[in-house]
Every structure is written in structure tokens, then in C-alpha cells.
């Protein structure tokens, strides 16, 4: 079960990207409202997907209330992954199921590494 980080490494309202062996893109982890959400760092604007941050871990818009692709400004709902504004309207991010164990370690759900 690939461990991404500890909850303590994720400030509330913050986002981070993690390389995962075997996955073609990073996994974005956003902590919000006491929950963590995992998304593939693949903007669905173009076929194949492209990474979205403008610098390392800079995945959120200015208000911190949406995941943003900083190539053309698409905004995605942090909880559902649905695009709410910009080039990806009608498309959504691909969820990466996460597990937070009792010790606070954030892990990929077993099997996700191979997808």
C-alpha cells in the first residue's frame, strides 16, 4: 500500500502532488474540511491529460476553493472532480481512492498503483 504522506504534512486547505511508482502522473492530495481527496494530476482538456500546477504543489486557484489547471484556467470541484469553469466543462478529474490509517498515514487504496 503506497504511502504518500502523513496528515501532518498536509495543512488544512492545502494541496500537494506525489509521484507514485507505476503511475504515469502525480497524485494530487487535497485536504479540505477534515477530509483528504486524491486526484490524478491529469487535466482532461487534451487527450492523454497534462499536469496542472504552475509550480511544485501549486494546484489550487487563488481562493483555494478549486483545483485549477494553470495552462488555461479550468477549475475543478475539490470534492467531485467535476470541471465548473473553463476548457474542461463537461469533463472531470479521475479520482484516486485514498485511505487514511489510524496513525494518520495517507495511502493509496491497494491496487491503485497498478492502474
Amino acid at each position: 500500500m503506497t504511502r504518500l504522506c502523513h496528515l501532518d504534512d498536509l495543512p488544512e486547505g492545502g494541496a500537494r502532488g506525489f509521484e507514485v511508482p507505476g503511475l504515469a502522473c502525480k497524485v494530487i492530495v487535497v485536504r479540505r474540511g477534515g477530509r483528504v481527496h486524491g486526484w490524478r494530476d491529469f487535466c482532461p482538456h487534451y487527450r492523454g491529460g497534462t499536469p496542472m500546477a504552475w509550480k511544485r504543489d501549486a494546484y489550487l486557484n487563488g481562493a483555494g476553493d478549486h483545483i485549477a489547471c494553470h495552462a488555461h484556467g479550468a477549475w475543478f470541484d475539490i470534492e467531485t472532480g467535476a470541471c465548473v469553469q473553463g476548457p474542461c466543462l463537461g469533463k472531470r478529474l479521475i479520482r484516486v481512492p485514498l485511505i487514511v490509517d489510524e496513525a494518520g498515514a495517507v495511502r493509496l487504496r491497494p491496487g491503485e498503483e497498478r492502474r
Binding site: N61, A71, H72, P87
Partner: protein, 313 residues
């Protein structure tokens, strides 16, 4: 119409300090900047970007799509050229003359436009020179690269727009403002150059649905491919993220390296673009990876073939 091209692009953003961090790392100089109000980010000839908060009341209205581009300021050669623009556009739309002498209007897609007598300075800087057998661009003892050589963007080169209605957009810039079509990606859109600028393009339009209208990318000219590579490499090293490049486009021949940005569009370094005059015969080809570039690289960390077994072992 004696239009030169964009003097300034105005953005209303949701994170002004992030834009400051990005644009100064990119090599622009901040002028009259505060984190609360934003400011200007200028290249060597004085052209550049104006960054304000999204809710700044001094800005023209925002596009409905959420794209952060608020206005293009197009420079013209002189007062007579400004009069010509006012007379032509005044035929079918409101053209305001502001206190600073500039004109304000909209194109047919609702992109805000300002026209002014250009404030750009004439640059007196050498281009990157190349040595080759038969033609030595550099004098003896003049070296071609050093790690700390200056890599400052020289001038605002072009803006690329997502445009829902290409035909009327093209008609406006070509037939009303006198832009020349230099080349076209069939199914995507035209590259345009204004009459008072020989650059292959100051504008390129990409056909999109209405919900995408806005700025796709903007670019500044560098002194040459070496400057472009060094500048992009510094961005990568500082943690900024490449979108596309480095590589070299076919149409326009310009080297490119695009970076994602907190302006909600890509910001490109370009270098060594073709120039044209009215003898040029425009080309057409379908857009695709093959047509979009002559070659494409991806950055990697510095490496050297060293550290293997010692000689004799």
C-alpha cells in the same frame, strides 16, 4: 493601418503575489507594484503585462468564461495611425477617446481593446550570433554561452486567443485593422501580423466553444535560442512547471518553451521568429503534432558521463 502589436496585456487575477513571483522569475521587471493593487511587469523595451486583482474596479469587464485576460493594448506608430483606427472602428461601434489619448473599444467577440501611440523603446541589442563554417557570426574570442548570461525577455511578442467565432474575428482584424494572414492551421485558425510589424505573428486564433473564450497563451521574444534554453532551465530549477517545450515551431520558425502560470494561461518564451513582408504567400496545413513543431525536447537535470570505473580497472 499602422498597428505594431500588443504594447500591454491587462489581466484581472485571483492571486496577485503569485503572479509577481511567477513573472519576476520569468524575467520581467515589476513597476509600481504592490501586493494589494498589482502593477506592471515590463520587458526590456517597455512592453509587458498589467496585473490587477480580479475585482479591481478600474478594469474593463471580465469575460464570462472566467478567463483572466481583461484587455489588449495595441500600439500604433503615431497619432495619424491612431486617428485612422478611430475613424475605421467608429463606423460601427463606440470608440472612446480617453484622457490619456488612448482609444477604447471592443472587437466583435467582446474582447476589450485599447489603442495608443506605442510607448515601446527601440532596442539596440545584438541577436544571438551563430558560428558556422562559411559564416562566422561571432568575432574571435567572443564566447557563445556562459551560465550567468542575461536572459531577459526583450519585447511582448504575441497573444493567442481562444475564439468562438473565427470567421468574424478574422474579418475584423484583417479587413478592419489591416492585419495580414501569414499562415493558417486548417480547422484551428490563422496567424496574423499587423502592417507595421514584420514578425510572423502577433496574434493567433484557436477555434473553441464559447465557454473557452480567452487567452490561451502569451509570449515574449528572447535574444536567441540559447537565452530561451537558459531562461526556461532557470524556471524549471526554481520549481515552475513546463507545459510544452523546449522545441521549435514550424510556422514562424520560432523556438518555444511554454510554462503554466497563475494568470490562468500559458506564458511562453520565444526566440528567432521569421519576419515577413507583403510578398509572403501564406501556407495552410491541418493542425497536429507534426505540423506544430520541427522538434520537441523535454528538460532533464544536468548530467555528464563521468563517475564510472577508473581508467585501467
Amino acid at each position: 493601418m499602422q498597428i505594431i502589436g500588443p504594447d500591454s496585456l491587462v489581466f484581472g487575477v485571483d492571486d496577485v503575489p503569485a503572479c509577481h513571483e511567477f513573472l519576476t522569475a520569468y524575467g520581467l521587471d515589476a513597476h509600481d507594484y504592490t501586493p494589494e493593487k498589482g502593477g506592471h511587469f515590463l520587458s526590456l523595451d517597455g512592453t509587458g503585462l498589467e496585473i490587477r486583482r480580479r475585482d479591481d474596479p478600474s478594469l474593463p469587464p471580465a469575460l464570462k468564461t472566467g478567463n483572466m485576460l481583461r484587455m489588449q493594448v495595441l500600439g500604433v506608430v503615431d497619432e495619424a495611425a491612431l486617428e485612422a483606427v478611430a475613424a475605421e472602428l467608429g463606423k460601427d461601434r463606440q470608440v472612446l477617446r480617453l484622457a490619456d489619448g488612448s482609444l477604447r473599444t471592443q472587437d466583435d467577440q467582446g474582447f476589450e481593446l485599447s489603442f495608443r501611440v506605442t510607448t515601446r523603446r527601440q532596442l539596440d541589442l545584438p541577436a544571438e550570433k551563430v558560428n558556422a563554417p562559411g559564416d562566422f557570426g561571432r568575432k574571435p574570442n567572443q564566447i557563445g554561452v556562459w551560465q550567468e548570461m542575461p536572459t531577459k525577455p526583450r519585447t511582448l511578442s504575441h497573444v493567442v486567443l481562444f475564439v468562438p467565432d473565427i470567421e468574424p474575428a478574422l474579418a475584423f482584424y484583417r479587413d478592419r485593422l489591416g492585419f495580414r494572414v501569414t499562415d493558417t492551421f486548417i480547422g484551428t485558425g490563422p496567424f496574423l501580423r499587423p502592417q507595421a510589424n514584420p514578425d510572423h505573428h502577433t496574434h493567433f486564433f484557436i477555434r473553441t466553444p464559447p465557454y473557452m473564450q480567452g487567452c490561451e497563451h502569451l509570449a515574449f521574444h528572447m535574444g536567441g535560442p540559447t537565452e530561451l534554453m537558459l531562461a526556461g532551465g532557470k524556471m524549471i530549477k526554481a520549481g515552475f512547471e513546463s507545459f510544452w517545450g523546449p522545441g521549435r515551431h514550424k510556422f514562424g520558425s520560432n523556438w518555444f518553451w511554454y510554462f503554466k502560470s497563475p494568470l490562468g494561461c500559458n506564458v511562453e518564451f520565444d526566440a528567432d521568429m521569421d519576419t515577413h513582408d507583403d510578398d509572403w504567400v501564406p501556407r495552410e496545413t491541418p493542425m497536429g503534432a507534426e505540423a506544430a513543431q520541427a522538434f520537441l525536447f523535454q528538460h532533464r537535470d544536468k548530467w555528464a558521463p563521468s563517475g564510472g570505473p577508473k581508467p585501467g580497472h
